[in-house]
Amino acid sequence: MTIVHHLDDATILSYAAGTLGEALSVAAACHISMCAECRTAVRKAEALGGEILDDLEATAISEARRAATLASLDDARVAKPVVVKSDMPAPLQRLLQGQGFAQLRWRKKAPGVAVYELPLSKGAKGSLKLLSIASGMTMLEHGHGGEELTLVLEGAFKDKVGRFARGDIADLDEETEHCPVIEKGETCICLYATEAPSHYKTLLGRLLQPFLKI
């Protein structure tokens, strides 16, 4: 698998800093699990976080707390690495509880378009969905609020930015307007995350617009 489209550096930074919201972070993590280049980039950005932490002023810890922490070490369990082998990116595998795409209860939103909503925690903003789009479909011209990520999991689409296939992520800036075409032959399954307040102008909004009249 050759990945052509990567996460933007600004996204890598906020992911590593822990300021990117949950929906976008899950999509970013799924790409990172497939992309060695972005893994290296995240590692560097985390090194920056480590340095900034190390540079912070020291705030004294109460003696009682220090003693309590040291005393509780005997009860602490020792963690072992868990290695899961799967074609599915690990964060998605967890959210789907091991189910494959074919086993999911997709909701048909429009001819050729089905959606599967993924769970987020209560504090999270925005939404995270799987989109299944039939081959040959053309999406309407749309822009990006800079607050959405689309990761291809199966199939491919093409637009003026290029071809997006498995592992590629569309992390496009606000100025980019495009109208992707799903390649013939295979249904395209994407992981789609947005934190934009309104769906108008986002990929999903434009995809459903002619049907939902939003």
């Binding site: 930074l13 993590a29 560097k44 920056l48 480590g50 912070l56 002023e57 020792v78 504090g123 606000e174």
Partner: protein
């Protein structure tokens, strides 16, 4: 990998009170291999007060911050075997633990996606020993690089990392378009990366 561990552990005959970054990596290995309490206490005394500041900058009270410090440091103890020195400095690893706890507790979101990728972080045999040592030196260069970037870029980075402010909110606070904040972030990050490449 074992050779690296031994070489790093050999470096640990150091006065415990004056540990530097490379030494913290060695101390973590002592915790992992020998459940070494003295090594852990040294790590605690250096990092716990910084993790406390990190939590308080995000608005945690003293009490909550100390709870999170305790949780962070106990995770350091119990996950020490997962720390891979070839991946980076001890401070980097401890930062990721504190960051994840802050997301879970203070923002009430889930940071599970970070843990999902932890097997990529697990110690591996594919990094030769010398490179492993170089990596941990690379991280001590991050400080120098950070000092060399323009102050407004450094400030943006610190806002992001320390105060847990999303880019959209930084934009609002500084009265700048989101696109401008993002491009400044990119510049800062690329600058850092370039400085690190020069150093190596």
């Amino acid at each position: 990998m074992i050779a690296v561990l031994l070489r790093m552990a050999e470096k640990t005959h150091i006065p415990l009170r004056s540990a530097k970054q490379e030494d913290f990596a060695a101390l973590l290995i002592r915790v992992a291999i020998g459940r070494d309490r003295a090594a852990f206490a040294t790590i605690f005394d250096h990092f716990a007060p910084r993790v406390k500041s990190f939590m308080m900058r995000k608005g945690a009270s003293t009490e909550v911050a100390e709870d999170l410090v305790q949780e962070t440091m106990i995770a350091v103890w119990s996950k020490a075997a997962l720390y891979a020195p070839e991946r980076g400095a001890a401070s980097t690893w401890i930062f990721t633990i504190a960051r994840n706890l802050r997301i879970d507790r203070l923002r009430r979101e889930s940071s599970a996606y970070f843990t999902d990728l932890e097997d990529f972080d697990a110690p591996s045999d594919d990094v030769p020993g010398d490179e492993a040592l170089n990596r941990s030196q690379e991280d001590s260069q991050v400080a120098k690089a950070l000092a060399q970037i323009p102050p407004e870029q450094r400030e943006l980075l610190i806002l992001s990392y320390v105060e847990d402010v999303p880019q959209s909110m930084i934009a609002e606070r500084l009265n700048l378009p989101l696109g401008t904040v993002k491009s400044r972030m990119r510049l800062a990050y690329r600058r850092m990366r370039k400085l690190l490449e020069v150093v190596n």
